[in-house]
C-alpha cells in the first residue's frame, strides 16, 4: 500500500478544544475554497488518515460523510473519495472570508485587550502573509 499524496495535507491536533472531525472539515473546506484541492483530487482513505495521525477512524469517517453531505466530496465505489467537481468552483471572496471569521473574532478581541490599532494590526498581518504593506 502506498501513501496517498495528499495524506499529509492536514494538520490535526487531537488535544485542541475543536473536535478532530471539525478540524478536518474546516481544512478541507478551506483547501477546496482556495483551489489547493482541485476537483477530482483523491483523498487518503479513512484508515490511512487514522493511522497517520493516530486518531479514531470513526471521527475521520464522520468528517468525510458530512463533507459528502455538503457536496464537497464524492464517494467512489472501491476507490478513494475525491473532491467533487462540477458546479462548485472555488468560493467567492465573502465566502472565503467567512471561513476565517471565528479566528478573526478571536484576534480582534486580543487586539482590543492589547489596545492595538486597526492599521497596526493590518500591517502586521500583511507582513506575516509576506506582502509589502
Amino acid at each position: 500500500m502506498h501513501d496517498s499524496p495528499t495524506l499529509r495535507i492536514f494538520t490535526l491536533q487531537p488535544s485542541s478544544g475543536i473536535p478532530i472531525y471539525r478540524q478536518l472539515i474546516d481544512q478541507v473546506r478551506r483547501l477546496v475554497a482556495s483551489g489547493q484541492l482541485a476537483p477530482g483530487t483523491e483523498l487518503p482513505s479513512v484508515r490511512e488518515v487514522a493511522a497517520e495521525y493516530t486518531v479514531n477512524p470513526t471521527t475521520i469517517s464522520k468528517a468525510y460523510s458530512l463533507l459528502e453531505g455538503e457536496g464537497l466530496l464524492q464517494r467512489n465505489r472501491g476507490k478513494p473519495m475525491t473532491i467533487a467537481g462540477g458546479r462548485q468552483k472555488s468560493g467567492s471572496l465573502p465566502q472565503r472570508l467567512r471561513q476565517v471569521e471565528a479566528q478573526v473574532d478571536a484576534l480582534v478581541l486580543a487586539a482590543r485587550q492589547l489596545d492595538l490599532s486597526s492599521p497596526d494590526l493590518c500591517d502586521f498581518i500583511a507582513k506575516k502573509m509576506g506582502e509589502e504593506s
Binding site: 487531537p14 488535544s15 478544544g17 475543536i18 478532530i20 472531525y21 493516530t54 482590543r112
Partner: protein, 292 residues
C-alpha cells in the same frame, strides 16, 4: 441500533457501609471506544470490576453481551480481554510460557498477531517476568489480552508504565481494533491526550457515579469558555444559562458554561451588550473545569 455490548442500570456497589459506586446507568454500543476518566479514587477500577463480574453489584444490574455480569458463562468470558491495573503475571515464568498457557486456556489464539506485537514492542519473551521492567510487564499483559482477539477489550490504566513511543504503538494497535467491525474497547487512563486520539465516547466518573457519558465531540462542543467584554459593568451573577464557573471583574468576565449552543451567541451578545468570544476547551481543561 444493534444490542449494546455492556449495560448498567442503576448500578451500585458498597463495601461494608461505604458506597463506592451509586446509580450508574450506561451503555456501550458495539464498535465504540469508550474512554473513562476520573480522579484517583473516583471509582473507575471498581466500575470495571463490577461490569465484568469480578465483584458483585450491591444494587441495580449490569450485563455483558446480554448476560448478567456476575454469572457470565465461560463462552462469554472467552470473548472478553482484560488488562488489570496490577498485572497478574507469574514472576517465575517467561513471556513465551505466559502466551502458551493463555492460548491453551482460551482455546483460540492468533499467534501471528502476538508474534508481530512482541517484535514491534521489542518484548523479550525468554526472560522471566521477575526480570522484566514495569513497561515490559505492561506490554506483556496487553499482549496476553489481545491474543484471542476479544470482541470486548477492557483496559484499566494500560499505559501508565509505558514511554511515549510504546504508548503510541499501543494506541495504533487499539485503533486497528477500533477499525474492525463490531469490536469494542473500554479503557481508563489519566493520560487525557491519549483519550482524545482514540476514544469516541467518554465517561466522566466522579465520586462513584458517571456524571457525563456521551460522544467526545459532543462534550467538547457543549462545554465552552466564554470571554466577555461588555460596554457596561457586568453583574456578579451573570445572566448566562448553564454557567459552571465564572469570574467577573468590572466590564470583563470569563465563564465556563455547559449545554452551549452556538445559535445562542448573537442573543447573548445583545443581552449582555458585550463582545462574547467562545473558546472550545481541550478534554484536560474540560476535566479540570468540571471538577472545580
Amino acid at each position: 441500533m444493534s444490542a449494546p455490548v455492556v449495560t448498567a442500570r442503576n448500578l451500585g456497589k458498597a463495601i461494608g457501609r461505604k458506597a463506592i459506586l451509586h446509580d450508574i446507568t450506561v451503555e456501550v454500543q458495539p464498535g465504540s471506544v469508550v474512554g473513562i476518566i476520573g480522579k484517583n479514587g473516583a471509582g473507575k477500577s471498581t466500575l470495571m470490576d463490577v461490569l465484568l463480574g469480578f465483584s458483585p453489584a450491591s444494587s441495580g444490574s449490569s450485563h455483558v453481551f446480554g448476560h448478567d455480569s456476575f454469572t457470565l458463562p465461560g463462552e462469554v468470558r472467552g470473548r472478553i480481554g482484560f488488562v488489570p491495573q496490577q498485572d497478574e503475571l507469574v514472576s517465575m515464568l517467561n513471556g513465551r510460557q505466559h502466551v502458551d498457557m493463555t492460548a491453551a486456556l482460551l482455546g483460540r489464539w492468533n499467534r501471528e498477531l502476538t508474534d508481530r506485537l512482541q517484535r514491534a514492542w521489542g518484548l523479550p519473551m525468554d526472560r522471566h517476568v521477575q526480570k522484566l521492567s514495569g513497561g515490559e510487564r505492561q506490554k506483556l499483559s496487553i499482549l496476553l489480552a489481545l491474543g484471542h482477539e476479544p470482541d470486548l477489550l477492557v483496559l484499566d490504566e494500560p499505559v501508565a508504565a509505558l514511554d511515549p513511543i510504546a504508548r503510541r504503538q499501543f494506541l495504533q494497535e487499539l485503533l486497528l481494533i477500533a477499525g474492525s467491525p463490531g469490536r469494542t474497547v473500554l479503557f481508563s487512563t489519566h493520560i487525557v491526550s491519549d483519550l482524545e486520539r482514540v476514544a469516541d465516547q467518554i465517561w466522566m466518573v466522579r465520586e462513584g457515579t458517571v456524571v457525563w457519558a456521551g460522544p467526545l465531540d459532543e462534550l467538547k462542543e457543549s462545554v465552552v469558555r466564554l470571554s466577555i467584554t461588555a460596554r457596561q459593568r457586568l453583574p456578579a451573577d451573570l445572566p448566562v444559562p448553564g454557567v459552571v464557573s465564572a469570574s467577573v471583574q468590572g466590564h470583563r468576565a470569563n465563564a465556563v458554561v455547559s449545554g452551549w449552543n452556538e445559535a445562542a451567541l448573537p442573543g447573548l451578545r445583545e443581552t449582555l451588550d458585550a463582545d462574547v468570544e467562545v473558546e472550545l476547551l481541550s478534554l484536560e481543561d474540560l476535566f479540570v473545569e468540571l471538577h472545580s
